[in-house]
Every structure is written in structure tokens, then in C-alpha cells.
Amino acid sequence: MFKRGKLGGLDGGQYRPLTDSDIRSMHEAIVRLMSEIGIKVENPKAFELFEKKGLKTDKDKRLVYIPKGFLEDCIDAAPSELILHGRGNPDNNIIVGGKRVHYGSGGTALNVLDLETGEKRLSTLEDVQNVSKLLDYLDNAHFQVIPVYPNDLPTEKVDINRFFAAINNTNKHVQGGVYTVQGTREVVEMCSMIAGSLEKLQKEPFISFITCVISPLVIDQVYGDLLMTCAESGLPVSMPAEPLTGATGPVTIAGNVANLCAETLAGVCLAQLVNWGTPVLMACTSTSTDLRTMAYASGSVEEGLINACAAQMAQFYGLPYYGTAGQSDSKILDAQAGFEGAITNLLVGMAGGNFIHDALGLLEFCMTASYEKYVMDNEILGEVMRVLKGVRVTDETLAVDVTAEVGPGGNYIQEDHTFEHMREEHFVPTVADRQPRENWEAAGKKDTWARCHDIAVEALANHKPIPVDEEIVKAIRAKFPNFVQ
């Protein structure tokens, strides 16, 4: 029997930037983009799959026209709900779909702010391990997207080692991007060994993949191959597109969301053609462009709007949704890092985003991860989850009888009612400082960064996720020459 997890899963959907009529107009635009303008499929194998299915194509321009009926068939074929498992701990399973909200990290940063020096440096395999462990510890990280790139490994060794470094240091679900077809196959094979068999892994997937559709409207050679390889494995796959307003997508939020949907849905269709019924996440990494410099703006308020709209569209199509929120373009853990992350995470959560990634740890255009920011964002997400929990109104919570007992001028400190409800009504912060100034000064005048730093150091020293069985690690080591751990 499946045991429902304890991580996240509260319902969003309170924030609806699109009306029902907007959603219908958006859908019509998406169908026009897919069926009239077409998707450029540069990958020959993918092109052939569409062609064989009898879809209208233009061979010279590499265009595939995806009609409404076929799109609907593909959406119907994909499951509307997925259970993403945590390795070794069913309490960590999450049910992705509907308006249920989960948050997790995102990738793939190339740098970290070093925990000891605070300086920016290239990330390594050890950082993959450490950030995974920290994310396992943080209670509002409901899943993990492999956060950083092991710059100390050659490309052919990246996929298998990155996945293992993450898996071995967390018992939460791990989703990750892949870099080579061979590497992807090795990851599937390695995780099948850990699960016991490929069938067991497919039944209870503790890993899943991310590939990309290129904006505007392109399935390219490299990511096309990766997408098809992932779909062949039968494991869940997210296929984000990233139209950037005014650059690789229309400058308008509505147009950007329409393009995004057409692109990710084209990926959904291709995955179904490869393997009918492939579990997929309709996925959005879109945000705005700062048109003063054409810089990609992660953590802009428009990112919140776009991803909230895309969450509504995924709910309309009945597909699980992978969204983006929570990053900042600040270079350090400062006020900007806090407010950008808070606003976008709140918007996309309140829109009912199912699998909101990048929600913790990322600075500087998603290129730099900060151990301290993972801790701060965990607190922001705790507050967001408190918002989603909402306000329960009953005779018991209205508490008129309690107030009758206390009477005008009394207090509620020792009431049973206070004792019974205080934990569920209040979010208890671990980072936010609410001490009197004297105590704060006596404790070393620590700012947010310093308080987060202490928590990160402590977690890395003491937190112990259940590792992969040593016998299995031995077998993995023997089987894969690329494995270095």
C-alpha cells in the first residue's frame, strides 16, 4: 500500500492570474502555435517519429505541425498524477499533480559560495554531496533537483557520479538534468541496481530526469536525443522550455506563457511517441529578460507571474507541473536574495505549482549556489507552506467560548485552547531573529547570513541520511569504469 508522504503537498490555487476565459484563449493560441506555425524538429529520429505518426510535416524546414486531436491524445496518455519516491523512506514520497504544492532545489549552478571563505569558486563533486545532504536535512525542501555541476570531472563521468552523489546523500526524491546519452543510460542502470531491477525502479522511481525544449519552438539534436533516451527508460521526465520575454519569447506575459506551453507540450508529445504513457511533467523555466542589458533575470516578479500562469495551464491540461521560483540575481545573501526568492516562491505556490524547483539556494542568474541561501529559503518556504495551510474557521477556532472564559481584560496564555492549537497555528522560525536587542548583541550580533551559516555547518557535520547499501556500491564500482566514488 502506498503511504502518503509527509513532505509538502498542501493545496495551492488561491492565486489565479488567469480567468477561465483567459485559459480558453491561451489554449486556442497554444493550439495555433503547434498546429499552424509548427515545431522545428532538428533531431532526425524525432522528426521521423512525428512523420510516421502521419502528422503534417515540412521536411525542408524541419517543421512538424501538431494538430489539436493528436495533442489531446498525448495529454490523455500521460498520467495526470505521479508518485515520486524517496529512496529508503516512503515518508518522503510526494504525489505530484492537481494543485498540490512541493518545493525543491534546482540546477545546475557552476559555482558555489565556499562555506568556509564565503568566496565564489567552481563547484565540485563534493559540493553535490554536501548540498544534497543539506537539502535532506531542510524540512521544507520536499524533493531535490541536483543542484551543482562537478567541475572536477570530465563530461563522460558527470552523469553517473552526479546522480550517485545526490542519491547517496538524500532520502528525498532526486531529479536531475543529464548531459550525455551514454551517461543517462548508466544512471538508469545504476539506479536499477539500487532499486533491485528496472521494473522496481519504474514502479517506485526515486529518480527522474530533466531535458529541454529550445525556445522558440525547437526540439534540437542534443536535447532531442536526451529526451528520447529518458522516455525510453520509462522513468518520469520534466521537459522545460525557457522562453525569455522579448528575447526567445514574446515580451508579453500571455504570449510568453503560450509559447512556453506549446514548447513543453511538444516535448510531452515526443515522449509519448517514444513510449506511450511516459510519465511527464509539463515544465516551465521561463522568466523575464532585463531589456536594459538583455540579461536573463532569475527571480524577477515576472517569473512569478509566468510560472503561476503556467501552473494554471498545467491544471487545465491535467498534467503534473514543474515550475520555477525562488532564485535571486544578487551575488550574496542579502536583502535582495531574500525578497526576490520570497515573492516568486509565494506566487507560484499560491498558484498551485506541483514541483517548484530552484526554490532554494540559487544566486546570480542560477549560476552560483549558496549553502546559507538553502537555509534561508527553507525558512521562506516554511512560511509559504503556512500561507497555503490557510485559515480554518470553526466554532473551535473562533474561540468565542474561550474568550467568554477569559473575559474582557484577561489573557490567553494558560488556556488549554492556546496549548492545543499553538503549534498548528504558528510557523516557528529558526532563522528569523526575534530576540531583544541586548540578547542579540550578547550572542554575537549575528545577521541572517551568519545564522544561516551556523545551521548549514551544523547540518553538514551531524545530519546522516541513509546511504546506499555498501554491497550495492561495490557492485556499481565494479560495473562502471566512469564511477569515481
Binding site: 567541475n151 563530461t155 522579448g246 531589456l291 538583455m294
Partner: protein
Amino acid sequence: MAEMNDIVEAVFKGKMKEIGNLVQGALDAGTEPNTILDDGLVHGMDVVAEKWKAGEVFVPEVLRSAKTMQTGMDVLKPHLVGGDRKPKATFAIGTVKGDLHDIGKNLVAMMLESVGYEVINLGVDLDPSVFVQQVEKGIQCIGMSALLTTTVTQMKLIIDSLQEAGLRDKCKIWVGGAPVTQEFADEIGADFYAVDAAHCIDQLNSVYSD
């Protein structure tokens, strides 16, 4: 000189439909074509570039201004002694082998064109030999772009190829892209590391000052 201000403003505001008539009006009033060029069109672009660097103007506005200037040039050109305005220099730019990212590189190309440089946009996923051929043809400014940590190493191979062909001192080399740093540029022996398009323009202007 009311018409000069109008031309400057038309370039600044990207009034593509009006610029032709304004330039023609100035010519009809007997203004020297070179004055129209320098004090009108070019000055207009200078204002745009300055405001852009100050963060007041959006990139699509710069591009619209450049197009407006070009439209004005089409009217002015037949009246200029020596015909076309000569570009300050020619810059060949491309994304290195194994890398398909082109939006940043294209942006640099568009912005350089806007401020008066001729640009050869070589494309993406380029073999080192493509860059070598450009220098063989006499192009003196080479720009390389990469977005991936896995492809940025190609830049060194290109510089090595130029070295082997005996062409390294015939050109200046710019490198840019997310994984590139000044340290990396120094390490591989590039002449310039440009953080962004504005930076690249400043560096080019320092080499090709009027």
C-alpha cells in the same frame, strides 16, 4: 539648427517613418551632408549609447535607433562625398565548437553594428579553422563566445590554432560568455574579456578611437 535637434531626437526615439523626411528637409535647407551625418545621425546614436550604458534605455530601443539611423543614411548617402560611411572596423564573432548558444553572441553582434562596426556573424558550433580563416582573410577583430563549462576550453584551441598558423599577432581576440572570467582570458592569452556588449564596445572604441 532646429532640424539637427529633430534628427537627433528622431534617432533617439527610433522614429523610423519620420527620419527620411527630416534628413531630406535638412538637405533641402542647404545643410552640409557631413553636418547632417555628424551632428544629426551619429550624434543621435551617441546619445542613445550613452543613455543605454546608464541603464535608461532598453536594448530593443537601441536597435530601433540604429535602424532609424540607417534609414536616415539611405537618404543621405547619395549626397555624401565618398559615398558610404566607412565602418570603424570589422569584427568576426562566433560560438565555439560543441556549443549551440547564440543569443548573447547575437546581441553583441547587433550592438556592435548599432554603434558603427561591421560584424561578420559566423554562427555556432564552429571549428577552430573557421576563426583562422577569418584572420587569413584580414579580419583583425575576433570574438569567441561559449556558455558551457565543457566548451569554453575550445577557446584555447582556437588561440593555439592561430598561433600555429602564425596569425596570432595579426588580430585582437575577445572572449565572452557565462563561464569566462578575466583570469581565464589571461590564462589562454586572449586580448580582451568582455563582460557584456557595452564592455565590448568600450574596448573596441579604445582600440579604434576616431
